[in-house]
Symmetry: C2
Subunit: 391 residues, 2 copies
């Protein structure tokens, strides 16, 4: 196990009706003038936004609003949010939505207290300072509610890039599983896939002797394998949604990923798909992961065999462990298809002829050197082959 | 799953040589005059204490010292520590040791800023305020390095009782697995047992639909089952100690116990043993847990069968699940014996004729009403039978 530091100071309020405590938590964590940042109309239509406003009013808090966050959130709205916060003297950002809204909130929070262009943070600068953020989560997926990370797409060039810093960890996150019950099944499934991707990205490590985090990751994958089909079968299953919601947070607050190298190449390869085709990130990952895993599995057959046996219930083939490894990847792929995820470029809405463009942005965009690194370092030829496997 | 809040803001620095950063962390978390609180001579002998002092001096921090914490830490030293801190104007407590030292530090930290008797907190009063605490952990066991809990024994009456409050969560905890390499095997094994007890106490729940926390608990039990024998076989196995150390923290920072009722009757029943005989808490638990589990298993056979199959590798007996449940308890007991833990009263140094006294203090001491509650509510007759099973 490698040396590490771990810090996850977010306060979580979990369960039914917890969104009504939003005002009290904003106050507790020092807010007085709030930006409510949200996505489309669903938060309005469901009455969630009104309940949140009422909760702020009950505490005597002022607020302004900025809606319109889209999946794969864009830099344009971030600039707008920064201007609005500066103009209105906002001192607290309250994200009401999923990972996109939270990530957009984090970008605004960092940008408001920074003199330069907020995109600097998405080009590698660590975020040292930000306005405090709270979240009310409406989809289990990104894990952004408990993470120090944010992903934004820059409209010029359509680069999708990440930023990080303990300053953008939410002060509090309100997790009410019932708020996710109105999601369309496809979005629920895309969220499940994203959570499982966060686990696999951590599982694919070159670090040795990491049994505790291996076991924790497997525990969360097993949870998703059990609860995923239950929630797809019955979208009103609060209990299944509750288990998925906590798993989604634990998958990404890093307690299961400490002390080990990680992969994140599936995320990198997918980001270009959702940036170009505006597909759901989880759907893109469902097509990407099996291809990446098959491409890199020879790098460490026993690691893939282990997850196959421990999570997917495959029988170990001691004479041909590579068969077990492959069986586990196929089992994962079939699981994703069974919950309604796409299985190839066509179902995703991606085009074979775009592969050279995808590879170029992936490996050369925004100053990259022709490779992406992770479990295995991949060059342009590797990435081309991987995209081709998805067709 | 039940509604809950979760808050674990401790900063963890994990790995080799991290104790040399103690001064920097004390400074970062606001300390200027430090009480170094520690146990016996091992911290002195090993040079650890000198390294810590040097680290504080390097940051220009002042300090005073108070050693002498014993296993099952006593109220007397806490009063002494409180007086010392007040006299010297201490504003930060640095615990160098295991759970006993950390718990004693927490009691001092709460007592210094409280006008009444610190024992009020151990009689049920929630701790709202305390001096900031940092820890340098030297044994994986209690999980106190990441928890809001403390257990102290009151010398008058020998009551062993717990207190709790987010204010006594450590601001930082330094976890260097190498510091645990000098522990005698018996203490290492007692620590392993304590960690597994924290997991079982959470596993034994009456809450339904808690798959995610069930799986996380099982993951940590599986880790202990794998790493425990490795570290007993080779005390210098840094990697095994590292996995155990992180498992010990995760077992007790509550991320695996949220949203579910818990047991803690094994802890309550054991506390009277270590209070009376001054045995290692983990050793007492090794004798207590199998007896308690056998006594209560009919309350929920399938729960005991589940841990038997998933953790202990028992084959499910679908016609007689109670046989599987019992087999799991026996497997756990044999595991504890195999790492060197005692298996009965005699090996623990406890006496059958003391049982009435033990039961009386357990069920009637310090204002209790004749029962202890948890997975199953136990009365004096139940507790008598359980102690008799341990003879």
């Amino acid at each position: 196990m490698e040396n590490f530091t771990f810090y996850s100071p977010t306060f979580f309020a979990f369960g039914k009706d917890t969104e009504n405590e939003a005002g009290a938590y904003v106050k507790r964590f020092g807010g007085s003038k709030v930006l409510i940042h949200y996505g489309g109309n669903s938060a309005k239509r469901s009455g969630l936004l009104d309940r949140v406003k009422k909760s702020l009013e009950n505490e005597g808090l002022e607020y302004v609003e900025l809606g319109g966050v889209k999946p794969n959130p864009r830099s344009g709205l971030v600039y707008e949010g920064i201007d609005l916060c500066k103009k209105e003297g906002v001192d607290f950002i309250l994200a009401v939505g999923g990972g996109s809204t939270i990530d957009s909130s984090k970008a605004i929070a960092a940008g408001v207290v920074y003199d330069g262009d907020f995109w600097d943070f998405y080009s590698g600068k660590y975020i040292e300072k930000a306005l405090p953020i709270g979240t009310i989560l409406t989809i289990s997926a990104a894990g952004s509610e408990g993470s120090p990370d944010s992903v934004i797409t820059k409209e010029e060039g359509m680069f999708k890039r990440g930023a990080s810093g303990n300053a953008i960890r939410p002060k509090f996150s309100i997790l009410n599983p019932a708020l996710t019950q109105t999601l369309p099944p496809y979005q629920t499934a895309a969220g499940i896939t994203d959570i499982m991707a966060h686990l696999y990205e951590r599982y694919l490590t070159n670090s040795k002797e990491v049994e505790v985090t291996d076991r924790l990751i497997e525990a969360l994958l097993l949870t998703m394998k059990y609860e995923g089909p239950r929630v797809i079968e019955d979208p009103d299953n609060y209990e299944a949604r509750a288990n998925i919601m906590w798993a989604g947070m634990m998958a990404h607050n890093h307690s299961c990923g400490v002390g080990r190298s990680q992969d994140w190449n599936s995320h990198n390869i997918e980001h270009e798909l959702s940036a170009l085709y505006d597909c759901a990130h989880g759907a893109g990952l469902a097509v990407t992961m099996p291809a990446v895993f098959k491409y890199v599995m020879n790098h460490d057959i026993m690691r893939f065999a282990k997850v196959a046996v421990r999570v997917w219930g495959c029988e170990m083939d001691f004479d041909h462990p590579e068969r077990t490894a492959l069986e586990g990847i196929e089992a994962f792929r079939n699981f994703l298809i069974s919950i309604g995820m796409p299985k190839n470029f066509e179902e995703l809405g991606a085009k074979k002829e775009d592969i050279p463009k995808l590879v170029n942005v992936l490996c050369r965009g925004d100053g990259r050197d022709g490779t992406i690194s992770g479990f295995v370092t991949l060059n342009e030829e590797d990435c081309t082959k991987i995209y081709e496997m998805m067709v």
